[in-house]
Structure formats: C-alpha cells, structure tokens
Symmetry: D2
C-alpha cells in the first residue's frame, strides 16, 4: 500500500521551507522545523522577523573601502572600522570573507584596516572569479590608502586554495605597488592551540620550527 504524499497542496508552506533549505548548511528536515518554529512565535515577532528581513538591504551597506557589510545606522559610506581615526591606517589585512573579521577583532591583536576579497582563487582554475574584488582592491590600495600604507597582511585559509589566492593577490599588488615601501606579509604558521606534535602534519611542524623564537 503505497500512498501519494499529502503535501501536494501545501504551496506557501512548501515555498517557505524551500527558502530555508537554501540557507547555508540547512537540509530538508531542519528547514521544515524552521517553519514550525516560526509558527510558534507570537504574531508580533513574526511581523518583526519579516520586517527585519525586508529591511535588511537598507539596514546593511557594503563599505566603499573594505567591502564588508555594516549597519546603515552609521552615517557615511565607510564602515565603523574604515572611518575610525584611532585605528592604524598604515596596515591593511586582506581576508576572504566578512565572517573572518570578527574573530580577528575579538583577538584584540590587530588595529589596522581590512579588505574583504570576496572569495578564494581555487588552485585548479587560475582566473579571477566574478565575486572576487581584485579591481576594487587595486582601487582601494591605489587611491584611498596609498599615502600611509606600510604593510599589507594576507590572511587566507591554510590550504592550497588559500596559498594560491595569496599568490594571486601578491601578483596583483605588485602591479600597483612599484616604487613604494609597502611590505606584504602573511599570517604566521605553526602549532595552533591544542596542537600535539604527535599528530601534527609535516608542513605544520616545518613552519613551527622555522618560526620558533
């Protein structure tokens, strides 16, 4: 006895579930639970959730200089970091994604500016992808920061794609950084918190030994 599923007529519920399924990391079952969760919210909260989603594009601007998202409650076209005169404008750190910035800020170790590249250059396809902000990076470095800049730090994931992205960015920066004294650095490699020698890979041990001190 195989019966037709009873969901054929659930148009709007199914549509919402389909949206939730496209959320990063969410499968069909959890998407359905999200919809049931929304159903349990008080009407006022459902309204506010929808309003916050609708207004998100106006709520959030992309910073003209570093291209991270920031709340439009701030005036101007620059985010809170780019417009903060107390930060060190001689340093620029290039990261892949918006989400990389928060942990660096939390560590309290870095006081300079950022640039969100928007992606990596995978090792096997050595051309710029559309979302990558290569041209914007050149423009920011050339026109906005050129006077003061002394160091650009590349902060990408430690794997072949991250290394390839670093090489790509270095080539791109060399085109525009002629005759300047900007140093290009990469984040240091070595043992990270919790690392045990017995389980460390050869590259990590090499880097840990080279960077000993």
């Amino acid at each position: 006895m195989q019966r037709r599923l009873m969901t054929s007529s659930m148009n709007n519920l199914d549509k919402l579930v389909a949206y939730f399924e496209k959320f990063p990391g969410i499968g069909a079952r959890q998407a359905r639970r999200f919809a049931f969760h929304v159903l349990t919210l008080p009407p006022a909260e459902i309204e506010e959730l929808a309003r916050l989603i609708t207004s998100l594009p106006e709520t959030v601007k992309e910073c003209e200089r570093c291209h991270r998202f920031f709340a439009t409650s701030q005036s101007g076209m620059l985010c809170g970091i780019c417009s903060d005169y107390n930060r060190d404008h001689t340093k620029l750190m290039i990261v892949e994604r918006d989400n990389d910035i928060l942990p660096i800020e939390r560590s309290g170790v870095y006081d300079g500016l950022y640039f969100v590249l928007g992606g990596t250059v995978p090792l096997l396809e050595n051309k710029e992808n559309n979302k990558l902000r290569g041209a914007a990076l050149k423009s920011t470095v050339t026109h906005t920061l050129s006077e003061d800049l002394t160091e650009i730090t590349l902060a990408f994931v430690v794997n072949p794609d991250g290394d390839n992205t670093a090489r790509y960015v270095e080539l791109l920066l060399k085109e525009i950084l002629t005759d300047t004294k900007v140093t290009i650095t990469r984040l240091g490699r070595g043992l990270s918190t919790g690392s045990e020698l017995e389980y460390a890979d050869a590259d990590t041990i090499k880097n840990a030994f080279i960077n000993r001190g």
Copy 2:
C-alpha cells in the same frame, strides 16, 4: 591592545541575527551567516521570503481533529489526511510531533488517521504540560471517531520519556474507552535497520527476541 567590538551600532542586523539564533539547532555563527545569505538574495526573493513568513499563520491551519498543521489552500477545517475518505478511519496513531508523520507516510505501511499530542510527559514530572493536547485527544476520540475506531497505536520515542507518555495516554484513554472494543497497541520493538547484535543494548535484544517470528 583590546578594542571594543565594532558591532554596537548594527541594530537591525543584530536583531535579525538574534531571531535566527532562536531557530532550532542554530548557533551565533550560523545565524550571522544566514543574514549574509539573505543579503545575497535578489530583492524579489527577499520580498517573497518576508511575505511567506508574514503569511505563514494564514497559510497554515491546525487541523481540528488531528492537530497537525496543513496548508489553508485546502478548504475546511480538516487536514488532507483527516478529510480523506479513502483512508482507514478505524485506526488512529498518536504521535508526539508533526514531523513524525512524514516518515510514517513515506513508509507506506499505515493507512489510518493521526493525532499529534504536542509533546511527551517526561518521567520525572508526572503532570500534563501545557502544550500537551490531552483534553483534545479525549474529545477527538469520544466525539469524532468513536463509532468506527478499532485500534489506537501509540508511536512515541523509545526511551523512558516516551514510555511514560504511552502510560499517560493509556490511562487517559481508559477513562473514555470503557465498554468499547478499541485495542491500544504500541509500535513494535526490536532490531532496526543496521543493528548488529554485538552492539545492541539489552532492551533491544529482549524485544527482538520476544517479537521474533
């Protein structure tokens, strides 16, 4: 050098992230990614997502008889299962949650009606919780189904809370099922797909042996 985080002014973005953090199974980091995901959607999709959320309470009704959610595009106050005359109205299966129904329907083994209890009765707090639909169950069994009903199957999670819920429902049904010939059954227990004897717990082995055939 410990710096204040730069998020203090991101009011509406933070509010949205806070909503996403309350979605079942979602932490702070993934909630933030959800917001960035929404930002990448075309404006028309952002509008539709918000509209689907707003309209969810009107989109979905709770079935008067079995209390599962169903799309209001169906007319009437009964869901597609309760209003389907081809289903076997002599059988009722009581489940904890709406989400339990879909896998049972997919298995194709069951052709009867359902009742969504709305929760379990945890072993250590032997009183009915507010969300539990004990009174509604009595009403559905007494007034809506009483004529034809021959079997009620209890389908709860296999753990002490599920067993306690089954006992609770049995007591509740016995108050109203005097002088009728309704059988109360529970789903069978034993080895489930992939079970290996070597790793099976004693209860599962006991049930598998008792239910051998």
Copy 3:
C-alpha cells in the same frame, strides 16, 4: 634537508609493532604506543602476558557443537552453554560471530543453545565462503539436537548481507528438517532503544508497525 628515518635498525621492536598493527582496528601509531605500553610493565607482567598469549590455543577450545570458543579449564569438548542441562535444549539460535553471544546472554532473555556460523553470505557472492560452517550446522542439527529441537532463531545483522545469510541458512535447514516440526524464526524488527520516528528509515517503521502489539 630530508633525512633517512632512524628506525632501520629497530628490528624486533618493529616486528612487534607490525604484529600489533594487524590487531583489529589498530593503526601504526597506536601499535607503536602498545609497544611502549608493554615496555612500562613490570617484568613479571610482561612474562605473564607472553605466557597467556602462548597458551591461548590450549586455553581455549572450539566447542564441538556450537563452535564458539571456551576455556579448556572446563572438561569435555562442549562449552559451558552446550553442556548445561538447565538450558533449554529445544531452542537453537544461529549467530554470525562469537562476540554476538555475550550481549544476548547479558540481556537474560534467551535460555537456549547457540550455533556460531562464522560469517555472513554477502548478497553479491551467493556461494558459501570457506569460514562459513554450513556443513557443521547441518551436522549439529541432524545428529546432536534433532530429537528435542522445536525452534531455530536466525540472529543476523539487519542489512542486505544479514538477510541473505538468513535465506541461505533457511534453504540449508530445509534440506534436513523435512517432516519435523521445527519452527524457524528471525529476531523481531522495529524501533530500537533511542529510536525517534522522525529519523527512522522506512523499513524500520514498516517493521515497527507490522510488529505492533
């Protein structure tokens, strides 16, 4: 600077590590740790460990009837279960491996005898493998147990290979069980401890519904 590893001369240590690497589930690193662990034992314990290993074949006999291993401190050629007159000699349970018996004994639900088949018949190679004790099973059932036997329970893993093994054993038993009243049963299937309906596969739900009661 790539250097030759310094292990070339560690002959006996390496040989021991190689033995430990063949232990079920053990990799190179853990095998090496085993050797270092043995080195930390007091000399008397190292001696005893070696002695226990040497004497293992004499320590342990394979039961003539059920083919499980048992300690030779017991007299006779039958294991403690096969020679226990208080057990129910009308029941036989056929399992794949020696290790399957302990959890069944621990569950306390079964009081009969066992037979260790020695493996499964994988679905894709429908011939008996060498380690499988098909002939021994026939012999045990025909000559040793035939008078009293009333039930044979097949207790294999719940997957296609286990099912195929059950079919193989049934065919084999039918050749010798003509004109007798021995029932062949299989362990019951359904929800096992901890099973939640929402995550259960269709087969498990089917079996749980069919075996309800």
Copy 4:
C-alpha cells in the same frame, strides 16, 4: 529469567583480555576481539608474538643521553640519533614523549638532537612528577653537550600544561646555563594546516599575527 554469565571459568582467556584492556585506548569489547584475533593466527606467529613481547625489554634500550627507546641491535648506549656525527650537535629539542620524535623526523626540518622529558608539569600541581627527567636533563646538558650547544628548543603541546612545562624547563635550564650563550626557543605558533580564520581561537590569531612575515 536472568542467568549467570557463562564466563566464570574462562580464567586464562579472561586474564589475557584484561591485559589487552590496559593497552592504551582499548575497551572491553576490543580487548576480547584482540584475543579472538590471536586465536586465528598460525601457531608459529603466536609463538613469535609472545617471544617478541618477552624479549622487548632486551630488544629496546633507553638512550643514555636523550632517553628515547632504541633497538639494542645497535651497539653502545646511545641511540642512532645521539650517536650520529652528521647531525647538528649544537641544537637540542626537548619533547614530552618518544612518539613526538617520529613526526619531527618525518618533516625533515630538524637536524639536531632530542631529549625526551617523559611527561608534562600540569598547571595545577607545580612540582616535578616522578617520571619527569629533570635531573637527567640537567646532567645531559651540563656534562654531555655543554661545549657545542647553542640552541635548546622547547617542543610541548600547545595548552596550559605544555606552557607550564616550558616555564618549568626554562627555570631548570637557567640554573645551569649561566654565562653561556645558549638560546632557548619555543616552536612557533600560528595557523596550522587547514586552519580557517573564522574558526580560529583568539590565541592562535594573536600568534599568527605576531609571527607574520
């Protein structure tokens, strides 16, 4: 029907299983499988395994200088690394365990000598434990290596216990390294292979930034 387990008489098998259960990382079930695995070995291999275990203490010596284990097939009281004149005797690396050395050798980055400390000094108990070779370390550094030594690298796990051990060893070395020009270094910290900024902890990000280059 709860029956007594049938294992009471399996003395020697149980004893062997008990030995295997004390092997690092091994539970009751796997220990039992080890015994069954040994039973499947040809008699000659069982004999060799037992012989290798018995002879392990004579097979393996502890190096007088670095205290790692090495095969006694080498003549002399020094291991192959300590007695290798092609290695750089101006460098000493102090590790916690014997097993830490193999991955460092495999990385090919280090050409000096080692010292196996034998453990860590947990943060909450600031006294030397018995297995720690503090006195032996002093002796090795003072009497054996003092002439040439220019650098001692501390290579401990990256956690509070490892850091505490490094402080302990530094204090201990300072007592004997007065008026010499030996540098004490620690392995570098930063992003390790596979590290993503988004998931990195604050300490790792700090170290990665400080060690950028």
